[in-house]
Amino acid sequence: MEYKDYYQLMGVERDATQDEIKRAYRKLARKYHPDVSKETDAEARFKEVGEAYEVLKDPEKRAAYDQLGANWKAGQDFNAPPGWDAGFEFSGGGYTGGFEGDAGAHSDFFESLFGQFRAGGPGGRGGIHARGSDHHARVLIDLEDAMHGATRSIKLQVPEVDARGHVTTRERVLNVRIPKGVKQGQHIRLAGQGNAGMGEGKPGDLYLEIEFNPHSIYRVDGRDVYLDVPVAPWEAALGASIKVPTPAGAVDMKIKPGSANGSKLRLKGRGLPAGSAGNRPGDLYVVLQLALPPATTDKAKEIYRNMQQELDFNPRARLGM
């Protein structure tokens, strides 16, 4: 098991005051709170900081932790020395801070030091029936999955408490159907698939937050889909009928004569499908991007030179130049 340097995690000195520790925690908690932070490892960092704070904010636990000595380095192989906690008394029940009350929130290191002081293991007390906590996970899907629906295999780390009150994690694999028309940021609720309840309590629910993988050509906003489509100058100037891809397959599209760079053309109902009855499907927006033919051949240079001579065109007229 790895030694955890709680002072380093909190970014404070070993002789920091309780106030300094509290301030450091508040700052880090706001930074890494999974509801607020966009960092990919936010939840892991939030739990780490929460665990460090749980030890350091409690003078008894902090004193016991300090007693292990200052010579340990983070990540070093660690086993609690026998009788290390002699003479310390921990106030029971102090099980706060953990994200969603998730018993798996603490590291093995923490469990080996303080785990045995948790009040009441499973079955340790008769007659307690509590609903299991809900479990949250994020699922990455592709745009195509939302177009057509899909089945995704989801791996969950499920904390389990053994007879001696120690927490281990077990991997659980669920196959979940991703409904057609699901939007970024929506939640799929799977009733009864959360953490097990205590006693006869019902299990909690599982919530899956849908997130889209970035797509190579499409950008998604709600149910609308955006697509940049390059056009040649003569297509934009003279009008044209071009083929454009859509998530549901290629379509022909008309471009009006005199179209400007950046013009947005809407293809109604060609975005993501409606999730349920009463919803409208999204639209596809084609954004025109003028592409210039390279002037690498004599012929191309000649044509550009002709345009220069024949056209009375000042691209910087608006700048007064």
Binding site: E100, R189, R219, D221, G222
Partner: protein, 104 residues
């Protein structure tokens, strides 16, 4: 580490389909009706129906209540602060979506 495979599970899209009564919302979020009423007073939730007994919430309310609860517990902020944080988070989300639409 044991692995356990199950059949394909069907869930519901919370935001799209669910209509929740006050009781159902409280059960799903493990909070009291008084807490929900406070969130309504703060403008965090907007139920349909004027009287409390007829309140009806959208599925979106569920994630909102849960986020409110987490922010309050984990960051130790009061309800007015939670309401402000939720609004700003919504705005950040919208701006990010817009940014993502324009650039990339």
């Amino acid at each position: 580490m044991g692995q356990q495979k199950t059949a394909i599970l069907d869930g519901i899209i919370l935001e799209a389909e669910t209509r929740l009564t006050l009781r159902e919302l409280c059960d799903a979020c493990a909070v009291t009706t008084a807490y929900i009423a406070e969130l309504v007073d703060e403008g965090v939730l907007e139920p349909s129906g004027i009287e409390k007994s007829h309140w009806c919430f959208t599925g979106y309310s569920l994630t909102r209540v849960r986020t409110a609860k987490r922010l309050q517990q984990d960051l130790d902020i009061n309800l007015a602060g939670v309401a402000l944080a939720l609004e700003l988070l919504d705005e950040v989300r919208q701006l990010r979506a817009r940014l993502n639409r324009i650039t990339e």
